[in-house]
């Protein structure tokens, strides 16, 4: 099969193997592979351990036509290592060489049920694409990412039907050289479950985890 180009998935989560970012990015990457793209994945938290790994990031970036950046929301913005990666790529792209035409698609997920918490992170990524001379293909924003918690989307049934439809639409658009459509953005931002259910399950989940560590009665401690 003739290659339509090369796609690099950058996963910005340190929570492997339970990374929702990786679940979302991998599904989209697989969709693009089926549409004739060559694919590659790098885990950002692994990149900053050595100069060799950093150089590998830049080399992988250089040989890609599409960059997919998938990360969890940390304190209303991309995690520190994702920002570090963006700083590195930006410097590299302005280091005297001719800028290769590349597209950037971003997928952000957060631990709040509402996807709108990700808006500022998406705006930061869009600004990055402008400063680095990348073509902005769009940003997909998911709330309640903990409900996926690293599971493969194809094994999750109806709860993620809008997520899958969104990523399929994104694959189609990228394969045709278009920005992702509004419908894909809207589908991804639909709540996975009602917010009151999410809050209830979240509270139960924290207590269950705390029980394992014997900290159930200490969850509201104020050590400082």
């Amino acid at each position: 099969m003739k290659s339509n180009g090369r796609v690099l998935l950058l996963v910005g989560s340190a929570r492997r193997p339970r990374s929702t970012s990786e679940s979302l990015g991998t599904y989209l990457l697989e969709g693009l592979r089926k549409r004739g793209f060559e694919t590659e994945t790098l885990i950002i938290p692994k990149i900053f351990g050595s100069d060799e790994a950093r150089n590998a990031l830049l080399a992988a970036t250089d040989r890609s036509d599409i960059l997919l950046l998938a990360f969890p929301l940390y304190v209303d913005s991309p995690p520190a290592l994702v920002i570090k990666g963006m700083e590195l790529i930006n410097r590299h792209r302005h280091a005297g060489q001719e800028l290769k035409s590349q597209r950037l698609l971003v997928i952000v997920n957060c631990g709040f049920p509402e996807a709108q918490h990700n808006n500022t992170a998406i705006a930061i990524c869009r600004r990055f694409s402008q400063e680095a001379g990348l073509d902005w293909a769009g940003g997909l924003s998911l709330g309640g990412g903990a409900a996926i918690s690293g599971r493969p989307l194809v094994k999750m049934g109806g709860m993620v039907r809008n997520v899958i439809r969104s990523l399929d639409l994104a694959s189609d658009a990228l394969a045709e050289g278009n920005p992702i459509p509004r419908e894909a953005v809207d589908l991804m931002s639909k709540p996975l479950i009602p917010s009151w259910v999410y809050m209830l399950l979240g509270a139960l989940g924290w207590k269950r985890q705390a029980k394992r560590f014997g900290t159930r009665k200490k969850l509201s401690d104020r050590p400082y």
Binding site: S77, T120, I124
Partner: protein
């Protein structure tokens, strides 16, 4: 009154120097006890996203490094100042590596605020927070994103007062000082 200043400059750069000096000078002149941290000189591990600080060692990050010390300094301060080169509209990776670690200051449990879900407070009191960004040149879009990000941070931490502002690198010392004084007034800092 104690102030903590986190300097998120990139090693080998000087873009924050004017704002940094002005913040330290103004707070000192107002009689504040100021402790500042040059983050690029500190070994601070990135947040693992493990939520250990919520369920395993509640309120304390599982990583025992300078990042843990900074969190303690921040919550025990009366004013925390976050200084950064505006980076794609947001914070630099140097400032963010410290900020990502402060989630242990809030509770894992949720509450609704104005119809939106946020985390509950862990502590009864939080410091006032001031976010100062520096841009090499005027850039309205980056400035808008920066101020929105600071407002979103404040909505999640809900400090008693917060302010944010962007300084342009070519401003005079006098202009920088006036901007810092304005921000300090906005967070109700007085002698």
């Amino acid at each position: 009154m104690k102030a903590v200043v986190l300097n998120g400059s990139e090693k080998g750069t000087s873009i924050l120097d004017g704002a940094y000096k002005s913040i330290l000078d103004e707070l000192t002149a107002l009689g504040w006890d100021v402790e500042s941290f040059m983050l690029h000189d500190m070994k601070i591990h990135h947040c693992l996203g493990c939520f250990g600080c919520w369920v395993k060692t509640p309120g304390i990050c599982v990583i025992d490094d300078a990042g843990r010390d900074i969190v303690k300094k921040v919550i025990r301060s009366d004013l925390s100042v976050f200084l950064t080169p505006v980076t794609f509209g947001g914070y630099s990776s140097e400032l963010k590596k410290a900020l990502d670690r402060i989630i242990c200051l809030i509770s894992p449990f949720f509450k609704k605020i104005n119809g939106e879900v946020h985390h509950k407070h862990r502590y009864d009191r939080y410091p006032r927070m001031m976010y100062v960004g520096v841009l090499p040149r005027a850039d309205a879009e980056s400035e808008r994103i920066f101020n929105t990000l600071a407002d979103r941070n404040a909505l999640n931490i809900r400090p008693p007062a917060h302010a944010s502002g962007v300084i342009i690198n070519n401003q005079s010392k006098k202009e920088i000082r006036e901007d810092i004084q304005t921000l300090l007034r906005m967070v109700e800092v007085e002698k």
